[in-house]
Amino acid sequence: MDACTVSEEHQRPTDPAHPAPEPPASFWRQVVFSTDHKVIGRQFLWLGLVFLAVAGTLAMLIRWQLAHPGAPVPLVGGLLFPASGGVVSPAAYTALFTMHGTIMIFFALTPILIGGFGNFCLPLLIGARDMAFPVLNMLSFWTMFAATAILTASFFTPLGPPAAGWTSYPTLSTAVGAPGVAQTLWVLAIYLNGASSVMGAVNYITTVIRFRAPGMTFFRMPLTVWGLWLASILNALFVPVLAAGAVLLFFDRVFGTRFFIAGSAIKPGGDPVLYQHLFWIFGHPEVYILILPAWGIAGDLLSFFSRKPAYGYKVTVGALIAIVVLSGVVYGHHMFVTGMSPLLGEGFMVLTMLISVPSVILGVGWLGTVWRGSIRLTTPMLFALGLVTVFGLGGFTGLFLADVLADVYLHDTFFVVGHFHLTMSAAVLLGAFAAIYFWFPKMFGRMMNEPLGKLHFALTLVTVIVTFGLQLVLGYAGMQRRLVDPSAYAFLRPLMPLNRVVSQAAFVMGAAQVLFVVNFFYSLRWGPRAPANPWQVGTLEWTVSSPPPHHNFAEIPRVFVGPHELGNPAVKAARGVDFQPQDQEPPA
């Protein structure tokens, strides 16, 4: 067994000589070190959900400090910050926002959407029995697990957790700015996390190219698969650039090289801004790595629950590809205030503005899909609509930040915080919830509770918009990011009531997630048994039982139609249902 082991034999059309392979018998091979993409998908999902809870809790502590600076944190303050009598100290505050960002992006949203649903959905949706390299897939999860273990360890180091921000810019992150082992552990965790992502990307890209079922042409793939596949291409190309930044930072911290330490009159040195280049060459594609799967999922769900084909499917795919290409050439807009040449800044501004063209095409596609559909407002549909709404709001605010002159004022304010939370955090989180509510029946064989899910949705959507919308206002009013106590500044003191409203909305958002946790665990145990196709849609995962058998398909399906053949009168007349399964020949 090695990482090159190919599951090609699994993909062979079934005949008596080649039956579908049997599942492994032992507990370890079946549950822990499984090579089954469905098990690995669930492992990633669990890991992501645990760290989502951790990072969410950190956010609550951040919001407590911003609403009530200097007041001890109620209930858990004495336990978490004993040295300061339960008060969030400046050092603790920097650690809080650093770990909140790091965990949310690398260890919660990425594992849930790409690790969890990427693994679970991708082979099922294209009619494959497993990933191309199942052993590599298992290694990808356990590399991620090692990364989470190292990052968790960094919380408990003598000089405190990493505190150089999720971007870990030098000089904050050098051995001078961040002495102690915690920041080195952060670098290692990010490197391993990247290695895991690249292993996943190798699998996803290869599986889509090689393992599509007969008839599953590229333009018959669900948009979810397109989103995951394109995100994997970005992962394979740009995560290595972050890895290079991490390697150089590691050398600087451990071996004393001088890449990111500015030179002085007595000692020559490098350039702290160099790290920013490496970080953002990766960092801007990263936001699309996060949102592309969510966009794909939204595109599919809007079609499924409007009972209509996705409007402009091929144009939507074209827009996704255009965004992938553009995402690689706009990173400079994160660095407008580093003193870059105005000409270069203008170039990055124009390229960034161009992204709004394919983005609007996506939006038109979503609206056209819902337009005059027979809309079924199920929980997954509500979350998909919420994603579109929140992403729209956040996307428009991106136009301000893409503009060099506006950015000089807005940079490093809460306007940026509000913008990226709406676009690449809240929108992605809503997409993750849409995916969980939609595929939970297929993953776990039981239905989730719909009324509880709708309440969860309503509370989450309203609080997301209030929390991050008001952050835009705070930033516009001039409040900087990363201030431990805004009330220390006379010009920010009038904003404190607004800060408290943001925090209260955030606390309600946090509390609303209890509804999800209850629903998740209750449904896991007591939810009604899921039928094979509870949502009445035609993609391949719904043609097999819930949960699917080991190796998914007794026979590799043959695909005849695209993923969104809904509401067709000819199908309705012939079969009495309004959807056309992808593996059935359409009526003449």
Partner: protein
Amino acid sequence: MIGSDTIRRAAIPPGSPSGGGEAAARATVTVGMTVALAAIAMTFAALLLAYGIVRVQAPTWPPPGELPLPPLWTLRLLATVLAVAGSAAMHVAARAGRTGTAATASAPLALGAAMLTGVAFLAVQVASLRALGAAGVHPDSGLAASVVYALTAFHGLHALVAVMLSLALLMARRPARPGRLLAVVAFWHLVTAVWLIVFGAVFVA
């Protein structure tokens, strides 16, 4: 407008990708290995970009205030020759593996030769770092020294992986699965190519 025209009639492309068999497995490994090599190449490209940025920004190279590094031409050229020789041996191994039957016997020989050159390459790289240290050049001596130490070490780690992968192929009791030898050979070639670029960009230029 929804109509039956939205449904395209059954068109199963002939020779669809998922057919099973050895040739198909080899093609799958090729795709996977291409992606993996692209990712590794991007890591080195980013490191070389970083080197390019600091070098372009510096008024002179090495930057003012830094002593010139000892060129160590003998060791650098020896490393380059060994890297190319290793890749050549791997090329022979790949051809033997591809043609199969009678020629297969020469694959372990070529693999073993490649492994030896790989180990020698690593030894030369360690010797070059020790020679730098002996001349008083350490990682924290300055930017030029940082570049040499970081690139030599990070590239060396990849060369070590290449040697270990070849060792794993040699030690395997069963004959290698289809495509695995070719994947290791491709990785080996990438490591050699990166060294040639580093040699040209860092030591010659």
